[in-house]
Point group: C2
Amino acid sequence: MRIEELQTPALLVDGTAFAHNLETMSSALPGPRLRPHVKAHKCTALAARQAAMGHPGFTCATIREMEGMAAAGLGQDLLLANEVLDTSRLGALARSGARVTVAVDSEATIEAAARGGVPEVVVDLNVGLPRCGCAPDDAGRLAELARGRGLEVRGVMGYEGHVVGLEDRAQRTELVGQCMELLVKAHAAVGGELVSAGGTGTYDINTWASEIQAGSYALMDTAYGKLDLPFRQALEVLATVVSVSPGWAVADCGLKSLGMDHGNPTIDGASVWFCSDEHLTFSADPLPAVGDRVRVIPGHVDPTVAYHERLHVVDGHDVVEVWPVDLRGW
Amino acid sequence: MRIEELQTPALLVDGTAFAHNLETMSSALPGPRLRPHVKAHKCTALAARQAAMGHPGFTCATIREMEGMAAAGLGQDLLLANEVLDTSRLGALARSGARVTVAVDSEATIEAAARGGVPEVVVDLNVGLPRCGCAPDDAGRLAELARGRGLEVRGVMGYEGHVVGLEDRAQRTELVGQCMELLVKAHAAVGGELVSAGGTGTYDINTWASEIQAGSYALMDTAYGKLDLPFRQALEVLATVVSVSPGWAVADCGLKSLGMDHGNPTIDGASVWFCSDEHLTFSADPLPAVGDRVRVIPGHVDPTVAYHERLHVVDGHDVVEVWPVDLRGW
């Protein structure tokens, strides 16, 4: 199939840029040094390519992602880097043979893991992002509590999410150090083999973590594109110009095909005015014609992909593979 | 099933508020005076309730919505209020017995409708929102062109999308009048029975249109909630508190369960700090406990529903119906 035959809006993955991204990351973080995060792409076919690069374990954000990865034969070592109260589905997954580890940061989440039959946990620390994670000083106590409930404690986790997107590399580096100091100290109290942290923005400067949970590097977006990273923009939304007026044009992609929390998407050589549910209004000089195709680069990869049913891998104008986005929902 | 048994995040529809909204709208705009827009809910089960209130026609934004409505037996009079170049699927739909009308605003879209076998069109006008729609003065020429290509021209359409959300009712009323003056004038040049326009924010002040394309009224969101409208908030995202720290709590819904283009969602009695992919960080006094449920009210209904697989209709704590969100995608 040719790109020209695709119904729009459609997600395109530039096969060359994608391969470059996987190779670049695997060279920097070989094998278990990278635990790719599937939340960025929600696609087992893409995850299979990451596994083929030698990364045995994966990071997930939802129970559905854990189940889907196991069903796709990628359940060798799945970490749910998130707190869960209803662990019944995770327990069933563990009993079916997948290796299931879940993050805990409280007595309630430890109790839930134990009751649900999730055999292994990591203690999740707050290293500065006001989200999940226990206070660093409390990690040792929680690890002891978990072991007392019969859980295997594999180590610690602490995501420096407030740091990964900082554009100034020196500042990013300094702050990662501060975060990881907390994590390393807690690890001494907790024990276990894992110090899990990091993301695409800190993959090469977070040298404290034993494994990096990066996900966006595979497809990329304009937010990470502002950082000086060696990863290439591999994801685009293909859209069709459906209307042209004096001064602007309208393409058929909008709020339901683009994650908007990082603001408007971009179009090379054009100025994006605003998005509606199924429309993107933009100006360019010269304006395109009705029927022309445009390539729209999302501001934030994760919530963009989550709107779509499939990724179209392209080589020039050829669609060479179609990958279902099969890990959506919860 | 009880709400307590639902996996989270989950979309809840308050059955009482929903029924109130449908009754209120149908009293104001009975029968064909309302052409409900399905893009807001993407759910044929919900659309069937709207049809049961006596509204024979529907407005759609995508080809998939048109196909899904026809497949659900709701294809009596479907208007695609959007421009389309690849009309092959619409032509097939018309041949299968659905009544299919599509918006046109250019020679190219007229030509596409004729070639694809879409029998009926409306001429779409730009009434002030810089999006689709021809210049008002060009509507008559396009209608003539369409008739020359064998198309039935049913009338005009012009969405005052830049006006529907204005909080000042007097200003809203004045601007609707200016927009509709353009539409009514063009209608005189175009002919046909339809003058299709309007939305939830202008349903009772747009007295020029022969039919109103409102959709959000059925479920509502915080953006429309700021207007002085008689519709009640019927949609919530149910989430579970998975982590509590000194000063904040984290619920398990985020960027992938909430349309974010209107900004953060709200929680009654709490302050929402920010959303991540699967997390919402908020403060409240007192803070909830881990395991507590919270109700999150979306800023924008349309892109919120589009992330979810189903709507759970609730009566108190009972889930009385589950409606698939079956019109997603394109």
